[in-house]
Every structure is written in structure tokens, then in C-alpha cells.
């Protein structure tokens, strides 16, 4: 992504600290020196390969036909754009990311509000809630696929059988979750993993709010709803934005859950999985690159918006 674009987004977001500290221009190279290794490393490892992707995207190159390699113009882009698979995976990516981020944000908010109150065993409940986030993503996807969703002996259907038997019935519904509602099944497993993350950020936000003001509002007779609407929510807003942004960065790139739960089948293939498939299974290097470039173009729209959010938070001094 262009440095210039970033600079445009970011212009004017200087905090007081920079003005205070950057007053003296002397020794600018000795100042820059510690920055260079990280910067050079990152440009070489992340930006240069993308230039390679850009070049290959204009080439006719399939690893299965190595002799037929050459300049292909916009053929790959044409093939990618007219491919209904890519379009559906674009929609899937948007739906998946939006659903996971929104639902886990709401659940996380509810849980954070619950945990913000004092009750016996609060520390234990917090620890229990963090557990899903600490399971390796592939392991979590395997757990959902085999131990929970399995149609004949998974925990979900097992619990249904048990509940129905409790009421004397033997005809509990036993759906095959992964083929009946594949996308929702993938989303549910991701929501399980990401809700703790949202909860942790929002809880930290709630606990950074000054208790005096809430107390004062209560003394003045404000109801619980009024306190939430007028005091807690405005204070929490930047934490909600931060949680949503970070969640989107991670969820939009999700590969593990889609790969493990459905192997991209049944309309659950998102963009990262589709690019992986074109490259790793179809060996069409040219088209995979064109798809990669399209992914980046889409991400840049979201990213510019997202970075604007971060920089406005930055300006307000929340970070």
C-alpha cells in the first residue's frame, strides 16, 4: 500500500508528544538509524513480493503448462472478474467478516458489562471466557467440525437428543450442521473465538471510566439505562471502534476456519481461501496473482477507512 495514501490519511494527526520531542532537528540520521532495520526488513519481505504478484498477474503462467509462459495482458483479470466463484467469495468475505465482527462485538459488550459488576468469582468467570481465544485456530476448527457439529455423535446433536429424551421424546432433530447451514456454522465457531477478544478490550474500556462521574450521576437520580446511554456508551465508543477495527483486520484474512471446517465448499470460500485454491490446487499462477491484486484493491478501501478511524482515535488521545 502506498506511503502517500497513508500520509494523506494521517496528515495532521500529530499528538502533543511529537511537538514536544521533535523540536530539535540535529542528528537526524542518528535518529533514523534505529528505525531502518525494521523498515527495510518489512519493505523487502512484504512489499516487494506484492510487486512480484503485480507482475505475474499480467502473465500467462500455469505451473501445469510451463512452456506456455508469457505476457497475457489483462486476460487474468478478465478471467478473475468474470469468474462467478470469485464474486461469490467476495460476498462471502464481506458477510463472514461483518457477521463475526458484529455479533462478537455485541456479545462481547454484553459480557463486558456483566463482568464490570462485582460478584463472587469474577476472576474465574473472566478466565473461563478467555479460554476460547487461546485455542489454536486450527484446533478450534477441528473441535467444532468433529466434536460439536458431527451429525451422528457431535456434542450439539447429542445435547439435542438428551434434551428431547428429558421430555420423553425419541425424535430429536439431528441436522448435519455443516451441510445444512455451512456459513453460519463457520461464523458460529469464529464468533466463539472472537467474542473473548472483544470482551477483553471493552472491559478494559469500561474499567478505565471514572467511577466518580457514574456515582455522581446516580446520586442525581439517573437510571441505569440513562447512565449507560449518556455516560458509558460515549466513553466506550472509541473502544468499540478499536475492537471492531482490529477484529476486522484479523477476521477478513481468515483462512484456518474455512479451510478446516468446510474446505471452502458449500459457498463458504472467502477470498484468502479462493486465492489459495487457485494457486495451490489449480496451479494457475497468473490468475491467482490477479485475484491477489483484486483482494488487495478491496482491502485498501476497507483499510483506508479503518486507518482513518485509528488516526482519529489517535488524535483524540485514546491511543
Amino acid at each position: 500500500m502506498g506511503v502517500q495514501a497513508m500520509a494523506r490519511v494521517e496528515r495532521g494527526a500529530r499528538s502533543g508528544a511529537s511537538r514536544r520531542r521533535a523540536g530539535r532537528p540535529r542528528g537526524s540520521w542518528s535518529r533514523r538509524a534505529p528505525l531502518l532495520p525494521a523498515l527495510v526488513f518489512l519493505v523487502v519481505v512484504t512489499q516487494l513480493p506484492f510487486v512480484g504478484t503485480l507482475v505475474i498477474s499480467f502473465m500467462r503462467w500455469n505451473a501445469l503448462a510451463p512452456d506456455d509462459r508469457g505476457f497475457g495482458g489483462f486476460a487474468n483479470y478478465k478471467a478473475a472478474v468474470t469468474d462467478p466463484g470469485l464474486r461469490s467469495s467476495l460476498v462471502t468475505t464481506v458477510v463472514l467478516t461483518a457477521a463475526v465482527v458484529l455479533v462478537s462485538l455485541l456479545l462481547g459488550l454484553g459480557l463486558a458489562l456483566l463482568l464490570d459488576r462485582k460478584f463472587p468469582g469474577r476472576g474465574i468467570v473472566r478466565t473461563l471466557l478467555i479460554a476460547p481465544f487461546l485455542v489454536v485456530p486450527v484446533a478450534s476448527a477441528l473441535l467444532w467440525k468433529h466434536a460439536l457439529y458431527n451429525a451422528s455423535y457431535g456434542f450439539v446433536n447429542g445435547t439435542l437428543t438428551w434434551l428431547w429424551q428429558l421430555f420423553g421424546s425419541d425424535s430429536a432433530p439431528q441436522p448435519d450442521w455443516l451441510s445444512a447451514i455451512p456459513l453460519i456454522a463457520v461464523e458460529a465457531s469464529l464468533i466463539w473465538q472472537w467474542t473473548p477478544f472483544m470482551m477483553l478490550i471493552l472491559l478494559a474500556g469500561l474499567q478505565s471510566r471514572s467511577p466518580d462521574i457514574v456515582e455522581a450521576a446516580r446520586v442525581d437520580g439517573a437510571s441505569t439505562w440513562q447512565v449507560f446511554r449518556q455516560l458509558t456508551f460515549p466513553h466506550l465508543r472509541c473502544y468499540l471502534e478499536l475492537a471492531a477495527l482490529l477484529g476486522s483486520i484479523y477476521v477478513v484474512q481468515n483462512f484456518d476456519a474455512v479451510f478446516t471446517l468446510t474446505s471452502g465448499g458449500l459457498g463458504t470460500a472467502n477470498l484468502p481461501y479462493t486465492v489459495y485454491e487457485t494457486f495451490y490446487q489449480a496451479h494457475d499462477y497468473g490468475q491467482a496473482s490477479a485475484e491477489g491484486v483484486i483482494v488487495v484493491a478491496c482491502t485498501m478501501v476497507i483499510a483506508t477507512f479503518a486507518l482513518r478511524t485509528v488516526s482519529s482515535l489517535f488524535k483524540e488521545g485514546a491511543l
Binding site: 500520509a7 518489512l42 462485582k118 468467570v125 485456530p137 466434536a147 477483553l200 482490529l246 484474512q253 486465492v275
Partner: protein, 283 residues
Amino acid sequence: MTAQEGRAATGLLCRGIWGFLAWFCGLFFFLPFAWMVLTSFHGEADAATNPPSVGAALTLQGYREFFGASTGVSPWPPLVNSLTASVTSTLLVLALAIPAAYALSIKPVRKWTDVLFFFLSTKMLPAVAGLLPVYLIAKNAGMLDSVWLLVILYTSMNLPIAVWMMRSFLAEVPVEILEAASIDGAGLLTVLVRIVAPVAAPGIAATALISFIFSWNELLFARVLTGVVAGTAPVFLTGFVTSQGLFLAKVCAAAVCVSLPVLVAGFAAQDKLVQGLSLGAVK
């Protein structure tokens, strides 16, 4: 009962209900995790019943199977690969991120916010976008199926987050003390060791933790760029994607074993986890 006592009783009841609800939600979210751990200690036949047999006899058979009791396939090489890739890349991330964060906070370069946002913007470039050239370069350089290639990629993956985190921690070093120290004639090394390091130590720990977890969890690069030699633990787990008859206990044991380092590190440092994931924004 006076009105005041009545209100106190309602308050207590209310608090009880909310506490109960919090416990209920906590346990509900914990349930799949608990089921995973419980199933990993069940025999294969008990693990695959409908309705579930919660109270079935406990056994270590699932773990024995995971460690290759009947197949002879040991999970140790992938686990060691994961450990090598995660630890080495974490050290490399710290070595690159700490000086960079220093140049963005304590002695900031001009336009340091632009640089900071450039770091974050590379994180928004999806990993798949550069995957193919990396694969082709690695193939030509003979670096496919090598842990060191993963070390380089994981370092670049975690470096932006690490720079953001370390910057937010180093920004807390009081400038006045730094200036006073340099007026008193303290050298750069003294300043770094005596003033910066103590303030930054918890931040370094948080950065290392996050970097380790993300490297340990990574699948896409490892899946595409490694094979039999350098495959990591998540790649090993993908061997369980297709069903193999009665193998629930084995799968759950595998999931527990591979997640164990992250679980231990994460539970031990919950607060650091929050700081890290929010790029150091939430303290």
C-alpha cells in the same frame, strides 16, 4: 421492613441475578472447551455416543494415539518446528521492533506518525497477496520446506504490531527524566539500561507473548511453504481434517496438546494479552 431495607434487599437480589447471569454466560462459552478437554480423556467408543456419555471412564488412550502409539507418526518434529519458528521469530521481532519504537517515541524522527501508520498499513496487506512470489523465490533459492523461511515471514507478520505496541510502551518513559539524565552526563547506554528498560520490560513481555502466539497459530504460510521436514504443529493438525472413523478422543487430545503452550502463556499473562492485541492502546 423499612423502605431503605427494602431497597437494599432489591439491590442485593439484583446483584445476585447479574452475577448468576455472568456465571451462566461464562460457563456457556467455556462448555466447548471443557468438552474438548473431557473428550480427550475418554475412550474412542465413549467419545462417540449420542447422547454424550459425560461420566464415562477416563483414559489416556487419546493422548497415546496422538503421540503415535499405533500409527508410529510422532508429533514431536512438527511441535519442535513450531517452537523453533515461534521463538526465533519472536526474538527477531524484538530485536527489530525495540530500536524502531525507540526512534518513534523517545527520540522521534520527523513525521513519525506517518512511519507508524506505514507499519500498520503493511498489516492490512493480506498475506495471500504476496504468497506466490514468496513461494517462487523460496523455490528457486532452495528454501522451501525450511523453518528459517517461516521465521522470516513470521517476523514480518508480527513486526508492525510489535512496533505499535513497543511505541505505546516507550511513550510512557517520562521525557523530563531522560533530559535530566542526559544533562547529568549519563551516556546512552546508562539511560537505556537504567531508565528505559525498567519501564519497557512489561511491554517487551507483552510484545513477545503476542508475537509468539500469532507465530504458533499461523497456518497459511506453513501449509503452502513447508512439507514433511519443516511442517509446523498447525499443519500437522490439518491431517485430522477428514474424518478417520472413531477418532474424536485423538482429535481432542491433539487440539489440547497443540494449544497447550498458548493456553499456558495466555492464562499466565491475561492482562498482557489485552494490551498486546489492542496494539498497546488498552492498558
